[in-house]
């Protein structure tokens, strides 16, 4: 079960460890979380950015030389056991379709489902936060029903509004701020996912469970 990985430098003081597979693996991700926790106490390592089946590890080259950091990372990865993390459960009420979900109907059609059925399937899933990143508080969610997957738009929108509930490829997410995105907008929520002035700015953390609930469906 030891999947092949690649470790490479991102400049002089960071290493990227990534899975060689292009398909997301939940067990692999649990080892990434475990490695991230382990690296917090590793001498010379300063910060980690867990991604989707990968991790960027920043180090201080005044404390640990680049090649030594690479060896250290390789060894710690070999020892990393899946961290069975199950965080808090967060409910996200969604208004599907209408003005706030302009791709809702085309998405349902793409999936071969009636709009109401598509909303129900989306809300029936149990999602887990795999990683936070790209923009402040943005959750990469695993657990999307494969029947609801849809390739990203060929031309990204320049401004997808904050609160948009979106689907891109095999992933689901919610927009924590208004930003460009090539994902499909299926609905809207009022839950704030990020506030830089809170003690913990990000509402969600890796391992958290997300459930979408149907507040309304605009047909």
């Amino acid at each position: 079960m030891r999947e092949p990985i690649t470790i490479s430098f991102s400049g002089g003081s960071a290493l990227l460890l990534q899975s060689n597979s292009s398909r997301f693996d939940e067990q692999f991700q649990k080892r990434i979380w475990s490695l991230a926790t382990d690296l917090q106490a590793a001498p010379g390592f300063t910060e980690t950015v867990p991604g989707m089946n990968n991790i960027l590890a920043l180090f201080n080259p005044e404390e640990i030389a680049p090649e030594e950091a690479r060896r250290e990372l390789t060894e710690r990865w070999a020892k990393a056991q899946p961290l069975p993390r199950r965080g808090k459960t967060v409910e996200i009420p969604v208004i599907y379709g209408g003005q706030n979900g302009e791709d809702f109907k085309p998405w349902a059609r793409h999936c071969g489902l009636a709009p109401l059925e598509a909303a129900q399937r989306h809300a029936a899933g149990t999602y887990q936060v795999a990683a936070i990143g790209a923009m402040p508080g943005f959750p990469y969610l695993s657990g999307l029903d494969p029947a609801l997957a849809i390739a990203r738009r060929s031309t990204p929108r320049l401004a997808v509004p904050v609160g948009s509930v979106i689907v891109g490829g095999a992933q689901a997410a919610v927009m924590p701020q208004t930003s460009p995105s090539g994902w499909h907008i299926i609905g809207r929520t009022n839950i704030a996912l990020f506030d830089p002035h809170r003690d913990e700015p990000s509402t969600l953390a890796p391992g958290d469970i997300v459930r979408f609930t149907i507040e309304d469906v605009w047909l």
Binding site: A134, P136, P201
Partner: protein, 319 residues
């Protein structure tokens, strides 16, 4: 207080940026030319991380409502205080009511104005840097506008002086700017031609160049085989190659994760050159090792430390 009289919305308050929260998607932000901001702070005896103004839209004018000490570093051009010209990388005193004017620079793209003890705004997530993309930090998370008033420390006059440390001396903006980069994760997946072109072509900065990133113009860089990458952490300086084959340099306000193949990462010690290169500038990339990248940064830090010590000695001698 100082009052902004003329500005563009891309001018903002910046320090050295945010660290430690990349894991929740918080960009580094901070000065695009960190070296010039540090020189400006060193000239005033500030902490190197003190907040100053990053000016990318010109002309810029501000008025001092009180006596203050300031320095102007970064891009070189006409700078006047109450009509009197100031040389590049110069620290000086302003009297109450005097106006500082920064004209469009002749060399470089970004000017930094630092003030003794920095600009006093509330830090957000450990930094005073403005994140223009996400809308926090600096002044209400936005760029400067006319009429903005900023808190700086009142200071008695001092004799004006300049920095001997001149990073611009080595730069010839009429030729491609030399920029060093460490090969990145997918470097070896690019075709042999693409790898050669990457370090031999003189890449032009397009008009799509801002604090988030620069799009470069040049030949198409092709991959040997198709790649499907999952979202992964990226740092300022990362050179991505999207399906168009035209490289993008991710910079201060860039997203913290991306999914495009990466050919190289520009070294921290040369990111300031990128920050000083406006549209139509050209880059010539040289590949270096992580050790070379770190040695270059170490040399740069020693030079800034030496400048800071010189300023300290000069100030103690001046009493």
């Amino acid at each position: 207080m100082i009052e902004v009289l003329t500005t563009g919305a891309a001018n903002s308050i910046q320090d050295l940026g945010r660290n430690g929260r990349f894991d929740i998607g918080v960009s580094r932000s901070g000065a695009m030319d960190r070296l010039s901001l540090m020189i400006g702070n060193a000239l005033l005896g500030n902490e190197l991380n003190a907040a100053g103004l990053e000016i990318a839209i010109f002309p810029f004018r501000l008025r001092f409502d009180q006596p203050a000490r300031f320095a102007v570093t970064g891009a070189e051009g006409a700078v006047t205080l109450a009509g009197r010209p100031l040389p590049p990388r110069w620290a000086a005193s302003a009297a109450e009511g005097e106006t500082l004017v920064i004209a469009p620079p002749d060399r470089g793209a970004r000017v930094y104005i630092t003030f003794a003890d920095g600009i006093d705004v509330e830090p957000v997530l450990g930094s005073r840097a403005t994140d223009l993309k996400s809308g926090y930090g600096g002044l209400e998370g936005r760029g400067l506008k006319r009429g903005d008033r900023l808190d700086v420390m009142p200071k008695p006059p001092m004799r004006a002086f300049g920095a001997a440390l001149d990073p611009f001396a080595a730069l010839d903006f009429t030729n491609p700017l030399p920029v060093r980069a460490v090969p990145a994760a997918e470097h070896s997946v690019f075709s042999a031609d693409a790898r050669k072109l990457f370090s031999r072509w003189s890449w032009r900065v397009t008009q799509e160049a801002d604090r988030m990133g620069y799009r470069l113009e040049g030949p198409e860089l092709k991959l040997e085989r198709r790649l499907e990458l999952m979202s992964h952490g990226i740092l300022p300086g990362t050179i991505q190659v999207p399906p168009s084959g035209k490289p993008i340099i991710q910079l201060a306000d860039a997203n913290t994760c991306g999914g495009y193949p990466k050919i190289a990462t520009i070294i921290e010690a040369d990111l300031w050159i990128v920050g000083q290169a406006g549209p139509d500038s050209r880059f010539l990339f040289t590949e270096v090792t992580p050790d070379e990248a770190n040695a270059a940064l170490r040399r740069q830090r020693h030079e800034i430390d030496a400048l800071a010590r010189t300023v300290e000695v000069a100030r103690s001698l001046a009493g």
